[in-house]
Subunit: 335 residues, 2 copies
């Protein structure tokens, strides 16, 4: 079983009584071939079960028909979904999707990036949180397509695909306002992070658009964690006039807020409404199920894939592009 005889392009050419060149061009479509020859070659390929060898092709073309997703935290359910979106679009086009973890330091990421570039990976979705400009630069310098998931658009650093955090947060707050809530507290992650910043902006915008002036005492910054949410909720619910609703920076914080609500002998949404952000799986599992904003990981993956397809097939695209996807409000029982 060690030495199976793969059928090569030469076998096909011989059997179809044409040159290997012709077979190659039937496959690639990079040169006109008479319909008669074409169909004959195709038939022989089918008969022989010929499958081109990607290594050989890659050696010639310098491409690998594969793209990689680099992540820091594999356990975050966001990334598998993004990967699924990539697959949906890229797998039918013959691409292989590799998922690479680059935990730890930026140097670990150096190693991973270099490994990928060695393999002449055609495209990279950089979802590693510790990525630096030098990583982006080395990727694009190698001629590899790059998509980032946040940051500022820069011609040297590839395309960007991201969700509309601000709009999403504005939607939740507007939903609460339209449901009659007025005193709405924000238990947010720190505004130093991109999501913290953007989500705070959405909260403020929605209130103002509704004609309300934000009350700073109702805005809390904590870690983007369950315990951070619990602490934030504790602070806000201890106020003289406690808020009627707690808008949280992400679902984990909302879970923590629910812990606090329960602990204080209150109920949600009876005594206080609670909302999350991201729509992780647990958002639907907790009690009450959380009203939240769906972070469209799958669609982000598809958008990345389409950018790759544009760049990798046909004529070179110049300039960089940014795709912003809408977030979607998911109303459940916590509001």
């Amino acid at each position: 079983m060690r030495k199976e005889n793969r059928v090569g392009i030469a076998d096909v050419a011989a059997r179809a009584e044409v040159s290997v060149t012709t077979v190659s061009h039937v496959l690639s479509g990079r040169r006109p071939v008479s319909e008669k020859t074409r169909s004959k070659v195709l038939r022989v390929i089918d008969e022989l079960g010929y499958r081109p060898d990607p290594s050989a092709r890659g050696l010639r073309t310098g491409r690998s028909e594969s793209v990689a997703l680099i992540v820091t935290d594999v356990t975050n359910p966001f990334y598998p979904l993004l990967a699924a979106g990539l697959q949906e679009v890229l797998q039918p086009a013959g691409f292989l999707i590799s998922v690479c973890a680059a935990q730890g330091t930026a140097h670990d990421l150096d190693v991973v990036v270099r490994h990928l570039l060695d393999r002449r990976i055609d495209g990279i979705v950089m979802a590693a949180l510790n990525a630096q400009e030098r990583h982006f630069a080395s990727i694009t310098a190698a001629g590899t397509a790059l998509v980032r998931l946040s940051g500022e658009l820069d011609p040297r650093f590839g395309d960007i695909v991201r969700a509309d955090d601000t709009g999403g947060m504005a939607d939740v707050v507007t939903h609460l306002l339209e449901s009659g809530y007025r005193r709405i507290g924000l238990v947010n992650g720190t505004p130093e992070t991109p999501p913290g910043h953007l989500r705070l902006a959405g909260y403020l915008r929605a209130l103002r658009d509704f004609g309300l002036e934000p009350d700073e005492s109702l805005i809390i910054s904590e870690a983007f964690t369950r315990s951070g949410g619990a602490r934030g909720a504790h602070a806000l619910l201890g106020l003289d006039t406690a808020p009627e609703a707690l808008v949280c920076g992400n679902d984990l914080m909302a879970v923590g807020a629910l812990d606090t609500v329960r602990e204080k002998g209150l109920t949600a949404p009876g005594d206080v409404a609670v909302t999350g952000f991201d729509d992780i799986e647990a958002a639907a599992l907790v009690s009450p199920p959380l009203t939240t904003v769906h972070n469209p990981a799958f669609e982000i993956g598809r958008a990345c894939a389409r950018l790759f397809l544009d760049r990798l097939s046909g004529d070179p695209v110049d300039g960089v592009r940014e795709v912003v996807l809408p977030q979607k409000l998911i109303v459940r029982e916590s509001t």
Copy 2:
């Protein structure tokens, strides 16, 4: 930026004043090289930043230094963890890990497997639920290493790595027995599935080992879902003498059981203890956090990786192997 000049083995050879053959052997260690030559070559490699081209190597050797994980459901958090375990071991060894989704029919899986074999993937972890014998057979026939995650050991179908479901379930039940619970109900998934079967066996074994005869009226089969768990709990808690504890077939069922407990105005573990299985992320997020059994996805991944390493490096291993990993009881507040 189209044509960067990669440095090749010939450049190294020239600069080090040796033949390409020697450089190749310094790299592979497949032939003795004098220490002096060796260190010189190594130095030049470093100076020039030479990196072997995987496509060229693959073309010669028929191997790709990469392994794939094929899954059906990308959103199941079990698989990313398994992938992380694979990475931890295989990435340092120079392997690339690809994650492939084969949703849908067995025919989709055919396509994915064929694609992977075309690329001369070195190893496949088959985690797709719809895999059939023909898939296993075609993989091993192509000389590609295969690891499955369940089933019967068969020389034609590669190695197996799995967790000890029966032992894990026995551990939970024993934990309850030792905590003083006696009437212990089982809200299980259907015993037609491998996990359902094995977990039931663990439940029965633990009771008997403790000297108790299982009461059939306390054993319920439902779907492995939240609503299945809710239904099962409803049935058991409606009994004349309701059980003191509900052991559930997986965490989702336990979440459903908690729904029912709450709905009936009862509390866990005050009125009734509840346990899960798998230790998905949500198990720690629900209230009360679930006592459950940790399904060691990460360790399974590492075990798969080690089997690959054994088969892919050095002398051919013959025969097939099975690795059974222990499950671990996680005691939280629901018991």
